[in-house]
């Protein structure tokens, strides 16, 4: 017996979840998943799509950002603050599905669905995001990297609702980008993807860099060796090639209908290099339109040769 209630406050939603209900925001993943036979619809569902208190983006006085779990991708990809200072996340949301998917799909839903191919995951990791979880008994914030424990699996308890994502203020001189490999431009998920946040020093060298990879492991992963490969160097061909090699080495991909493991190991290096390039350009104040992987010049010859 499947039942559905609609929550009008977060507390109502939390009580329903305490009693065993699963939250449903836009519902795309749940409804499509049920029809595809991945998992039946939950017996108890609580609709959270009317909780306006979770649908806002709020900028803190320190430049940090709190994005409510129900903020839709369409809002994120057009938000002036996200597109100006948290570009990698705008890149990711702009690539999700189609206009209708982005109008229904929420950031919280994407995060809690826990797909290793999610387009907002690698951006959130490089931006240092934390997820805020609430239950009737407790509230906690954990880094997104600690949230994802396997494909479709999170560290959240059944009674915990994702209420927001928190992004710290980006450092001065930083830029970020997310680039994915895709076979077509809509209704697609990443074959592989990579996000980078680059902080440039005054002399143009990379002071620090964070790189995360999508669709090459059971969860989104950091590529720390790739980060070290470019720290202290100019974002120039030799260092970018080292990023690509280290990102490929960090990947633990599978073969599936979107690509073989070998193909993914190679191409994740290419998109990691392109993400670092785009992030560095943004850090220099150049305009790289959202989404970065469709912007002119990204992935085109760096320093001349293709």
């Amino acid at each position: 017996m499947t039942t559905f209630t609609s929550a009008h406050t977060v507390e109502e939603a939390l009580r329903a979840m305490h009693d065993g209900a699963r939250p449903i925001a836009g519902g795309s993943d749940l409804v499509v998943g049920a029809r595809q036979g991945k998992a039946p619809l939950p017996d108890l569902m609580v609709g959270i799509d009317r909780l306006r208190e979770l649908a806002d983006i709020a900028e803190g006085a320190d430049g940090s950002l709190r994005i409510g779990a129900l903020v839709r991708h369409a809002t994120i990809e057009a938000d002036p603050v996200v597109t100006a200072r948290f570009c990698a996340l705008a890149d990711g949301s702009a690539l999700v599905g189609s206009p209708s998917t982005r109008n229904v799909g929420t950031l919280g839903g994407n995060v809690m669905n826990g797909s290793p191919a999610m387009d907002t995951g690698a951006p959130l990791v490089v931006l240092g995001a934390e997820v805020e979880l609430r239950s009737t008994a407790d509230a906690r914030r954990i880094p997104v990297e600690a949230l994802w424990v396997g494909p479709g699996k999170t560290a959240a308890d059944a009674g915990e609702l994702c209420v927001a994502l928190h992004l710290p203020p980006p450092e001065a001189g930083s830029g970020s980008a997310y680039v994915r490999l895709e076979y077509r431009r809509a209704m697609e998920i990443a074959v592989v993807g990579a996000a980078a946040q680059v902080v440039l020093a005054g002399d143009g060298t990379v002071a620090s860099c964070r790189i995360a990879l999508a669709a090459v492991a059971p969860t989104i992963i950091r590529a720390e060796a790739a980060e070290r490969a470019i720290a202290g160097s100019l974002p120039a061909p030799q260092a970018l090639a080292a990023v690509a090699e280290a990102a490929g080495a960090a990947a633990r991909p599978i073969d599936d209908l979107r690509g073989s493991a070998d193909y993914r190991r190679h191409t994740v290096g290419v998109v990691a290099r392109r993400a670092v390039e785009a992030a560095a350009r943004r850090a220099r104040g150049e305009t790289v339109p959202v989404p970065a992987n469709r912007a002119r010049g990204i992935g085109l010859p760096y320093g001349g040769a293709a």
Partner: protein, 156 residues
């Protein structure tokens, strides 16, 4: 066995109340309970866009949206655009441009184009392509559909 639930929704300006199982999708309720068969069920998998409707003005794949979530909301389907005697400019435009062949994708295309022009009355060709990117057409090759939207869009 699923619990029935009464929902009230407005479709094309008409108020409806229906009792439905909570696992029913919006497209199935529109077509089977309300008899509004203009909205098509294509892939039933959130890929093709044939089931596109507006919910509170925003485009939604109605195959992947539970009808209970539309409770209290306003839905617009292709029937709400215009009928045979009073075609909306987009409907007339897609006919005149030759953007209809088998016609299966047409209702979804018209709904996506309606949402696009409401948000952006002067779209570039690129913006039209993005606006329609969630709608598949296997007949026309898209060019004439794009042209129809261009022709209807208010000149800058």
């Amino acid at each position: 066995m699923n619990a029935a639930r009464a929902i009230a929704l407005t479709v094309n300006g008409v108020a409806y109340e229906v009792a439905i199982a909570v696992d029913r999708t919006l497209v199935s309720v529109l077509r089977r309970e309300l008899g509004l068969t203009g909205t098509k069920e294509g892939c039933d998998d959130c890929e093709c866009g044939a089931c596109m409707v507006l919910v509170d003005g925003r485009p939604v794949n109605s195959c992947s949206y539970l009808a209970v979530q539309a409770d209290g909301r306003e839905v617009m389907t292709v029937e709400g655009l215009g009928g045979e005697d009073d075609l909306a400019p987009l409907q007339r435009g897609i006919l005149e441009a030759g953007g209809v062949q088998c016609g299966f994708c047409t209702p979804g295309m018209l709904i996506s184009a309606t949402a696009l022009l409401a948000a952006n009355p002067h779209p570039s060709e690129e913006e039209i392509r993005i606006g329609l990117s969630g709608n598949l057409c296997r007949c026309t090759g898209y060019q004439k559909i794009i042209r129809a939207v261009q022709r209807v869009a208010e000149p800058e």
